[in-house]
Amino acid sequence: MQLMGWGRFPRTEGQVSTPRTEAEIAALIAGGPLIARGMGRAYGDAAIGAHALSTARMNHMLDFDPETGQLVAEAGVTLKDIIAAFLPRGWFLSVTPGTQFVSLGGAIASDVHGKNHHTEGSFGTFVDWFDLMGADGIVRRCARDRNADLFHWTLGGMGLTGVILRAAIRLKKVQSGWIRQTSIAAPNLQAALDAFEATYSATYSMAWIDCAATGDRMGRSLVMNGEHATLDQLPPAKRANPFAARGHLSPRVPVDFPGIALNRWSIRAFNELYYHKGRLSTGTGLIGWEPFFYPLDAIRDWNRIYGRRGFMQFQCVVPLETKAEGLTQILRAISASGSGSFLAVLKRFGPQESRLSFPMEGYTLALDFPVNTRSLALMPMLDAITAGHGGRFYLAKDSRISAETLRRTDPRWAEFARMRQDTGLKAAFTSAQSERLGT
């Protein structure tokens, strides 16, 4: 069958197996190279290939300790499942990406980050251990003090160290499902960067950035900060049922939009509206966890907005020292090209020491491009700017950087590839992405 990621580009012909037991997984691994696949929400080619092992039916929750907040669950359990089960009991994910439709295994393999990266770190920070089945079919428990190398290679290792079977993660105690959100309108890039630095202590922060604006307004943004609302911050009506904060039920994108729907004018008009609507509603207010953390989840199948050919996401991080120059050059290149996306996101990362994970201290920029010749011409220019400023790329989003670009920007992967070669992992676990990038 045809396999693809969330961006629906690229697509490969591949087989999908859906095992129910460990023994079945071991037999599949013995049968030749494969890649584990969770919810298929990696944007590019990280979880596609000739043979994908779906964890959809390995999705049991196994244990929960209400003293420590430690949840043990199988890799196919989704973040949505976890919130649905535990938010009503006063627990939330310690780190969540911008969608709840990802699996636990995928979150570990991509070492995903969220709006609290600068204060609390990436998803891996809250992983106590996981069980990993290797090329030999043997299950190893990996933790910081046990099979530590394997533990660190697996966080952000894109599923290339084996199949994650189950994991223990720590949840965070919260008093409500509400977030106190503060938004700040920043008229240009420098103002946005200043706002991030001035509000660094906020638990959650991110910005929507207008990638179509030019001149004095280049990089204008709405910077959003948030804190979990405590009980005494809720009005009495909400306090009675503090976890019942829900978003609206979602419309679904019914068909692929024609390619023409997304053009420089519609993008510019959308961004204009979005900025001014946001500018008028700056200040602090209560917002439910769903619209705060998962605004795009509210539009099911939003990936169809970019048309039948799909889209690519560009997500890079540039270090603190070169942030202003690097981001300015990227934004200039994008606005000059007339390409761009409805929603682009800017976020401050905190420091992170890790074997393979994407985040480093600096600023990350994420935006979508429809698959067309103009985007395909623009994106290598953005790669070059990123590389020239000491930045690197997020493989969970990537579908098209070159092996050479990865080698230049992120030498950690060359060491990883050697390790995979030496330990037999390379022959057992391959994805379309690992073959493209030589990882």
Binding site: T18, R20, R57, N59, H60, M61, L62, D63, F64, E74, D81, A84, A85
Partner: protein, 244 residues
């Protein structure tokens, strides 16, 4: 007190989806299968997610002699029973080997009918209950490709129909479910038309809604009613020459 659902054949994908749905709606669960160890993770998952009581029980649909003991061991007579037991077998094998055919017939008709019959007695005596049997569109008309399985399901469908008729005034509701194609372990790798194929969770939601509305027969995807009506209405002289 929470209502209780007994699921027979609880390891199947459809059964597990129903367990999740009913637990989410506040039911305690009795999960029964040949190998209750295979239910341990599922049971624990249901307890953690939904904070309901879940017990597991050994139940072998071919062991009809053991049915009485199985029912005795249930600590509480369930409010609703769902029979998800089914075994497709292999049609050529069933044609060639009477023992293989008998296993298919006994798994899909004899066992399910007898255990639901026994539960019906107890529910009738109590004065209320719901019996849900998962039958199959394959029982709507015998076809060359799977008539051994289909005939057993036809028998099961007829049994449920009669049971429903008998208990209609006794407070016990009987519902027949014909899922059509479902994306389960049984159908993995088959090139199924996605428009005719339901996900297990879709089946579970459809069963839940149908039970709430006291439906008698449920085709999970309505298109299957149309498809099977056409197949049923084809004149035999024509039908016997088709390969459906």
């Amino acid at each position: 007190m929470k209502p209780t659902l007994l699921i027979l054949g609880a390891t199947s994908d459809m059964a597990q989806a129903c367990a999740q749905k009913y637990a989410a709606e506040g039911y305690d669960l009795q999960l029964a299968a040949r190998d209750p160890e295979a239910l341990a993770a599922e049971a624990q998952d249901l307890r953690l997610r939904h904070r309901v009581e879940v017990s597991t029980h050994t139940f072998d649909v071919l062991d009809t002699a053991g049915f009485a003991a199985f029912l005795e061991a249930l600590h509480v007579l369930p409010d609703t029973v769902l029979c998800a037991v089914g075994f497709m077998g292999d049609q050529p094998a069933s044609q060639a080997n009477p023992e293989a055919a008998a296993v298919v017939m006994r798994s899909n008709y004899e066992g399910p009918a007898l255990i639901l019959g026994a539960l019906a007695e107890r529910m009738e005596a109590r004065g209320h209950g719901t019996i849900i049997g998962i039958s199959s569109v394959a029982g709507d008309r015998g076809r060359a490709s799977n008539y051994v399985y289909g005939s057993a399901k036809a028998g099961f469908t007829a049994f449920l129909s009669g049971l429903r008729n008998r208990l209609a005034k006794k407070g016990v509701h009987v519902m027949t479910v014909k899922p059509g194609f479902v994306a389960t372990r049984m159908t993995e790798g088959l090139p199924l038309n996605p428009r005719l194929t339901a996900q297990p969770a879709e089946v579970a939601t459809a069963i839940w809604n149908a039970q709430k509305h006291h439906r008698n027969t449920l085709y999970v995807k309505p298109i299957w009613l149309a498809v099977m009506t056409v197949i049923r209405l084809l004149p035999e002289a024509l039908f016997k020459r088709t390969s459906l």
